[in-house]
């Protein structure tokens, strides 16, 4: 259990996430076939493979440097909505992390807030649109309130992961208002949003790393 994530830890989060995405690839693609164009799994998998390759090629550095590298690789290799959104999120996270060598609970909350706001700005989306933003927003709020309450990093990120999972479930009956699923109108009701599911996995990787 760590009360701070170093650059190496954040790199480990992304290694973990790349592995998870590879495992979830088919599920994500299936979810995206139902409400979108069936490429979310392939897209994110291509990007995360490129990201860990880049991480492995250099020396880790600060958390901010890691976020920056991952964000840039995603922007260059993914394309589509998720490339822009995850890319923007991690580049904003890098900005918020600055030169810090470690992220404790409150710093992590600030980093996630910037990332979440980046998604809203990039996606022109709001809570309730049934996109990955709902997950980021709920998870970030949970981390923020845990941090504000003085909880340690591991517990705060665990609260974030729980909130993420809950939100994914809560969103199922909603109607999508942004992204490709919105073209479906009422037919988007009853489906899990692919970007929400991949975002949940990210928060679970963060929590797992802090708990390790």
């Amino acid at each position: 259990m760590s009360e701070e994530l170093t650059g190496a830890d954040v790199a480990a989060v992304f290694h973990r996430y790349a592995k998870t995405v590879a495992e979830l690839k088919d599920l994500l693609t299936e979810l995206d076939t139902a409400v979108g164009d069936g490429d979310h799994g392939t897209n994110l998998d291509r990007g995360m493979r490129a990201a860990v390759e880049a991480l492995d090629a250099g020396t880790p550095g600060t958390p901010g440097a890691v976020f920056n590298l991952v964000g840039r690789r995603l922007v260059s290799t993914v394309g589509g909505a998720s490339g822009a959104l995850y890319g923007t999120a991690f580049l904003r996270a890098a900005g918020a992390a600055g030169d810090a060598t470690g992220l404790d609970a409150s710093r992590m909350a600030a980093v996630l807030r910037q990332a979440t706001d980046g998604i809203a700005a990039r996606g022109k989306c709001a809570a309730g649109d049934k996109t990955m933003y709902d997950v980021w927003s709920a998870a970030t709020e949970a981390v923020e309130s845990a941090a504000a309450g003085g909880t340690g990093l591991a517990a705060a990120l665990s609260a974030g992961a729980v909130a993420a999972a809950e939100t994914v479930r809560r969103m199922v009956p909603w109607q999508a208002r942004r992204g490709r699923a919105s073209y479906l109108g009422e037919r988007s009701v009853g489906h899990r949003d692919p970007g929400a599911v991949s975002s949940q996995a990210l928060f679970e990787c963060l929590a797992a790393q802090a708990a390790a």
């Binding site: 164009d37 394309g79 589509g80 909505a81 822009a84 208002r177 073209y183």
Partner: protein, 334 residues
Amino acid sequence: MKRLYNRPDAVVDEAVEGLALVHPDLLRLSPDPMYVTRADAPVRGRVALVSGGGSGHEPMHVGFVGPGMLSAACPGAVFTSPTADQVEAAARAVDGGAGVLLIVKNYSGDVMNFEMAAELLAADGIATETVLVADDVAVEDSTYTSGRRGVGATVLVEKICGAAAERGADLAAVAELGRKVAARSRSLGLALSAGTVPATGRPGFVLADDEIEFGVGIHGEPGRERRPMEPADALTDRALAAVLDDFAADELTGDVLLFVNGLGSATPMECAIVARRAVRTLGERGLRVARSLVGQYMTSLDMLGVSLTVLRLDDDLARLWDDPVETVALRWGR
């Protein structure tokens, strides 16, 4: 899936490479990040046009690169928008000092990646304007959602803006013209069967023998409804009715450009049969088909279907449509 591919994940790279290889006089390929420019880019003092989008819609967009149309195209993975990197690099390569027009189909991914590219270009002092194409009447138009999909009108915007740029119009004027073409266009597509995505080897959706998808998207997005199959004339009339109903009543007069677009596996005979009916039905509705484009220009892999686009012409648009164009897929005049 039995197709003329080597590896599913190499399809786009190999196809773009092949096209560039057989059109060395017209196209120049940059492999990483991947984009294709006209061979003579940058053209000094002329507004450059950059478009792009997911692959699987060929000949769009690489097939529209050349004098009188696009300066560069950025092909993404199949059905996936290009990355911001591709767009940024392409725009830098073709900027001739008069700025760059980005022509973007209204899909979240495309919009965001082009927007990121525009931010990066602005930071370096390269002027850009964006024209967003959102002409698909199958999708409800609402400010609460992502709005309509960009489909057939994209080809018309690219051709007409390309002509204006070639004539020397400035960036603001070319952008305004593009918005005008987009605003005066409406489209609707229908599919008898879906395209097969190389990566999965499976069709995007499966229809019964007597079913069609009415209002289908070019990525196999579901449309307005599944309906019973009907003869070509009835389907044409049904699609046209949806298109025309979306114009204001007082707009339904004068000259139009009719674009009958095969979605992948429609044969030239099928496209012509649909065009025949469309010209007649438009005539009965008081619209004269003064210009037309019939064929496969914006496909969805091997989808069997067609889309119909109607653009309300004026003299200016007709003139720019007639201007010379020299690309792989569209060529006339000189």
